[in-house]
Symmetry: C2
Subunit: 223 residues, 2 copies
């Protein structure tokens, strides 16, 4: 479903930073891939390019055969809304919306009616252990609770492609296992999962682990 | 250096949430304590109360013998600036300042001159592997790089009390070890460390582990 061909992402500033360098990778439909690597090695950059939130400096990213950089930003946003669920490393929740309203947001863009959105949001929040926090705003939640709201939001529209950046970084082991069970269900339904993690035990839930270092793809390991 | 006596923290909202309930704990000078517990169990709340960023609903928090809630907010801020280094779960960096400027901020409040601040900030950033990122703003850094800037900032004023909330949550194992080495140095110099973590291997660097669940202190374990 996703093919990266010789993708490079460079930032120009005081110095030139090559965040990704000549990365080629295929994510077949239904695959479950983890990405590991040192802090700063390009993992979040890779995820942003796969999800079309950013475009490469060189090379191409194709989602369902379409070159994402060739689309306009509104077109890319439409493709993302339909296809991609994104769990951000810094959560990116709307501060003035409740947990349930945050989770329901992807469904607003899909034209789902209010009652169905509400029910879906509450069901997902219950699945991640936040059934009694649906009315809280992000500032009234712990770090790991905000992370779980971000996860529920990413799952809300039953995405064909789930991109998760350090989804268990702020939670205890049991809560992490609960989150991974949600991802396993999505994957079992035939969807594609790409998750970034620095925890080996989380990476081993995938079928293969991509290792990045200094912006380069060093190894693809079967697990 | 810190004594919590029967501390309770309650939030009133739609429902009443008891984030901490009757917690009593002593942190002797030079002690190294870890706090573990499920997501939402009150760990960040505990850290905020110990550091005087928040005041309890009931009970007292004494820092060097002084009841923090009896001080005015400006007095509390002065005590914090002199004594406490804080690594926040969400980093809380100043977005319009560079990494070096963020790290130097605690020294500005202490009246340290510009050249000395600059040198200290660059030295600390090099210690956490960011020697080549000192001029980057937070938006130009990876998640784990921001976390390391937050750590360097907390260490800048050589605090007598270091409070660290999930300091390795966003970094790989090697980078995490480097961060823990910095904390070990601070502790070896006679300072007090309280760190929240959900990783057992990180908690075992401390001398004892406090276990929270549902806002209550359930156990203090020697490690
Ligand atoms: N402003 C608030 N209003 C209501 N409830 C709150 C508020 N802030 C925090 N809480 C609740 O207090 C409880 C404790 O929060 P705290 O942030 O201390 O947890 P934590 O142990 O740090 O969790 P995590 O591991 O997820 O970071 C949580 O259940 C949270 O929902
Ligand atoms: N706007 C920018 N300008 C300059 N450099 C940048 C910018 N954004 C990111 N970088 C750099 O690109 C590199 C890759 O960043 P990325 O966020 O992909 O790393 P990461 O592997 O996700 O790290 P972490 O594990 O710490 O989250 C980092 O070295 C970072 O400093
Ligand atoms: Mg990242
Ligand atoms: Mg917390």
């Amino acid at each position: 479903v996703v093919v990266l061909s010789d993708v490079t992402k460079t930032y120009e500033g005081g110095a030139t930073v090559e965040a990704l360098s000549g990365v080629s990778l295929s994510l077949p439909e239904g695959s479950y891939t983890a990405v590991m690597g040192p802090s700063g090695s390009g993992k979040s950059t890779l995820l942003n390019l796969v999800g079309g939130l950013d475009t490469p400096t060189a090379g191409t990213v194709r989602l369902d055969g379409r070159d994402l950089a060739a689309l306009s930003e509104p077109q890319r946003a439409r493709v993302r809304g339909r296809t991609v669920g994104f769990v951000f490393q810094t959560f990116n929740l709307m501060p003035r919306l409740t947990a349930a309203e945050n989770v329901a947001l992807p469904l607003v863009f899909q034209g789902v009616d209010r009652a169905a959105r509400r029910e879906r949001a509450e069901s997902l929040l219950a699945d991640v252990g936040l059934g009694d926090r649906t009315g809280h705003e992000p500032a009234e939640l712990s770090g790991g609770q905000r992370q779980r709201v971000a996860i529920a939001r990413a799952l809300a529209a039953d995405p064909a492609l789930l991109l998760a950046d350090e989804p268990t970084g702020n939670v205890d082991t049991d809560t992490g296992d609960r989150i991974m069970a949600e991802f396993a269900d999505l994957h079992a339904a035939g969807n594609t999962v790409l998750l970034v993690t620095h925890e080996r035990r989380i990476a081993e839930r995938a079928n293969r682990v991509v290792h990045l270092r200094d912006g380069e793809l060093r190894e693809i390991e079967s697990v």
